[in-house]
Every structure is written in C-alpha cells, then in structure tokens.
C-alpha cells in the first residue's frame, strides 16, 4: 500500500509517501532514527503489518518540518530516504 501523509493547500502539494509493501520487509526501520525531526514512528497497520508512518502531529506541517533538510541549493540526500534501505519513502516536493 502507498500511504501518503501530508496535505495539499493553496501553495502546493506536500506528501511523504511510504510504500508499506517495501517498508514491511525492513528489519530495522532506520527512518525512525534517521529523521532529525522524528517524524516517523512504527505501528501495526490495519492489515497487521509492522510499518512506518508519519506521526499524526506532523502530517499537517510536513512542508515546514522537512524544510531544514531541503535547502534551495546543494541539497544533500534526505536523511529519511537515505536511512530507508528498502527505498519505501518518497517526497512529493
């Protein structure tokens, strides 16, 4: 399942997508410690799979929470994506 966490508003679309089919194969969930803002948490989803999700408090402000990792120039790889070894995490912006 592709789970999109975030929102769209008048300024654009801000979604962090987690592909849970890949996420559930990951033994260590590096995203949880890899994100400097601590946006990710581990849950047991509705289908009883152990997966990451963006925590509820962060979902309506991901644009701002992620801003520090997204400089306008010389953008390094995003820490959450670098820590996600199965490649389950993508950002829409």
């Amino acid at each position: 399942m592709k789970a999109n966490y975030g929102y769209l508003d008048g300024s654009g679309q801000y979604f962090i997508t987690i592909d849970t089919d890949h996420c559930t194969t990951c033994p260590h969930h590096g995203c949880v410690t890899g994100c400097p803002k601590g946006l990710f948490e581990i849950i047991v989803d509705d289908y009883d799979d152990c997966v990451s999700q963006v925590n509820e408090a962060a979902r309506k402000k991901v644009k701002y929470e992620c801003a520090a990792c997204k400089p306008m120039a010389n953008r390094p790889p995003l820490p959450c994506m670098a820590a996600c070894t199965p490649g389950a995490i993508t950002h829409s912006w």
Binding site: M1, K2, A3, N4, Y7, L8, D9, G10, Q13, F15, D46, Y47, K60
Partner: protein, 286 residues
C-alpha cells in the same frame, strides 16, 4: 427557534427478512466528525444500520448509533459477537473489540457495496476527503487524504446550507437550476468561499447560482486530490456527499468518469467495512 438548514435527518433501517437468532452477528461503528453510523451483519449479510449526528462526546455518539441500529431488531449489544470501531472517534468506542482506520474500512465497505470491480473510492466525509485505491478484495493499495481544510467536505456543505437558508437535502437538485454553470467560488478554504458567496448574494446572484458555484468548487477541490493518485475504473463515491447529485455529477463531468451507483446508502460504507473486518476477525478468533 430558527430553522437549522444544515440539520440532516437521522435514520435507521433493518431487514425484516433476515432472522438473526443463532447467527454470527458482527458490528461496525463509524464515529465521524459530523455523523456516526452503526452497521450490523448477520452471517456477513447486511442486516441493520443507523445514521445519527455525532455529538461532542464520542463514546455517547457511538452508543447512540449502535442502540439505534439495534432498535426494533430484538437484539441486544451483548448479542453482537465482535465490533470494530472506525472514524475519528474510533478509539473512543467503549464496546469495540478493535479500532481500524476509516481508510481501510471505506475500501472494504466500498468493495461490498459496489462489487469487486471498484478500484478508486472517493470518501467525502464530514471533515476530510480521502481518495483510496483498492484491490479486488477491498484492500487499500494507495490512499491520499486531505484533512487540512473543510473545503470539499460535508461540513463545508452544511455551512453553505445555513448561509443560503436551503435545506441540505435540496442543495444538489437546486444547483442544476441555473441557465449556465457559474465559475467556482474559492476552493482553497470554506471560510473564504463563504465570504465570497456572501459577496455574490449581495451582488444579486440567486441562491441557485451560488449553490452551483459552491458545488463546482467542491467538485474541483476533490478532483485535484483524485488526480494526484489517479482514477482507475471503476470509480465510486462514499460518504454523505455521495448523496448530493450536485457535487457527484460535477465530479463525474470534470473527471470524465461515471461513478458506480450504490446498492446501499453510501454514508454507511465506513461502518459497513468495519463490520466486515469484525466478521473476518471473529472468524480468525482475534
């Protein structure tokens, strides 16, 4: 007391042809931000449901919905073997055996209501709007939710019903009584849309035209959401707005896709999905 135009009618129903005695009865309760529904299944068949307004207290709202679904059936809450709670208030359903998100429940309920060919479900709820892709068994494969603002939701429609003094059930029909389709009002925010609509009324626009402009804005808003994940056929709409033809037909027109017609009330899809999960969990012994 002044008439509350947003106030929609509460209702319940049960199938008198089904005899529940001795059967496996499971239930689902969807405590949403605006309305609460309860559904009862007898051996996996839809037996009873209710739809009530959600109050400020989720446990009471869930109890009220379940009590009303049980009314006239001769059953008691203890007769329901497994209950799943869903919706915003899902963790506050005191008699639920498990809580499951409304996204998974709408997909499962939509699959039951519209059949296994449905692949895209648009759940237009009271406070948010969700675009859901599902597989032939009703398992979610992709979802997108917009809960940051009320534009494109049932609550926004209630605000407009009150503003225009038009009963909410009549809005859909009235929105087509215009000579030509007006441009949409703001689809970014329901507060902006309301201000804009007040201005249009002062300019002399008739109510029907303002309603058409808002239905248009609402349709455009959710189509933007749908386009982000894509629309795979078959397409269906659940939630209370699924009963508003003014919005549904405008969504269909903008997408170029016809929505499947529901065999049951589209507003019970979440609770129905929860009851189906309850049946599966009961059979698994969880």
């Amino acid at each position: 007391m002044a008439q509350e135009f947003w106030r929609w009618k509460e209702y319940n129903w049960h199938d008198e042809n089904i005899q529940p005695n001795g059967a496996a009865i499971t239930g689902g309760v969807d405590v949403g931000s605006v309305s609460s529904q309860a559904v009862l299944l007898v051996n996996g068949q839809l037996y009873a449901y209710s739809s009530t307004r959600t109050g400020s207290d989720s446990p009471n709202s869930s109890k009220k919905a379940m009590d009303w679904a049980l009314e006239g059936t001769g059953l008691k809450l203890e007769d329901v073997k497994f209950i799943v709670g869903t919706g915003y208030g899902r963790v506050n359903v005191p008699f639920a055996n498990r809580a499951i998100t409304e996204i998974a429940c709408h997909a499962r309920g939509g699959n039951f209501m519209y059949g296994p060919t449905v692949r895209t479900i648009l759940d237009m709820g009271g406070q948010d709007c969700k675009a859901i892709h599902c597989d032939p068994v009703g398992k979610v494969t992709n979802f997108l939710m917009n809960d940051k603002c009320a534009a494109g939701t049932g609550r926004g429609m209630e605000v407009f019903a009150d503003l225009l003094s038009v009963p909410i059930e009549e809005i859909g029909e009235l929105s087509f009584q215009v000579e030509e389709e007006p441009p949409p009002v703001s689809s970014t925010c329901v507060v902006f849309a309301k201000s804009e609509a007040s201005g249009l009324l002062r300019k002399g626009w008739p109510k029907n035209k303002v309603i058409a402009a808002y239905c248009n804005a609402m349709a455009h808003r959710v189509v933007t959401l749908l386009e982000r994940i894509g629309v795979e056929k078959d397409f269906a709409i659940t939630g209370g707005i699924g009963k508003n033809i003014g919005v549904v037909q405008r969504i269909e027109r903008e997408l170029g896709v016809t929505a499947l017609k529901a065999k049951y009330d589209p507003q019970i899809a979440g609770a129905l999905g929860a009851a189906l999960f309850a049946k599966a969990l009961l059979e698994k012994g969880k």
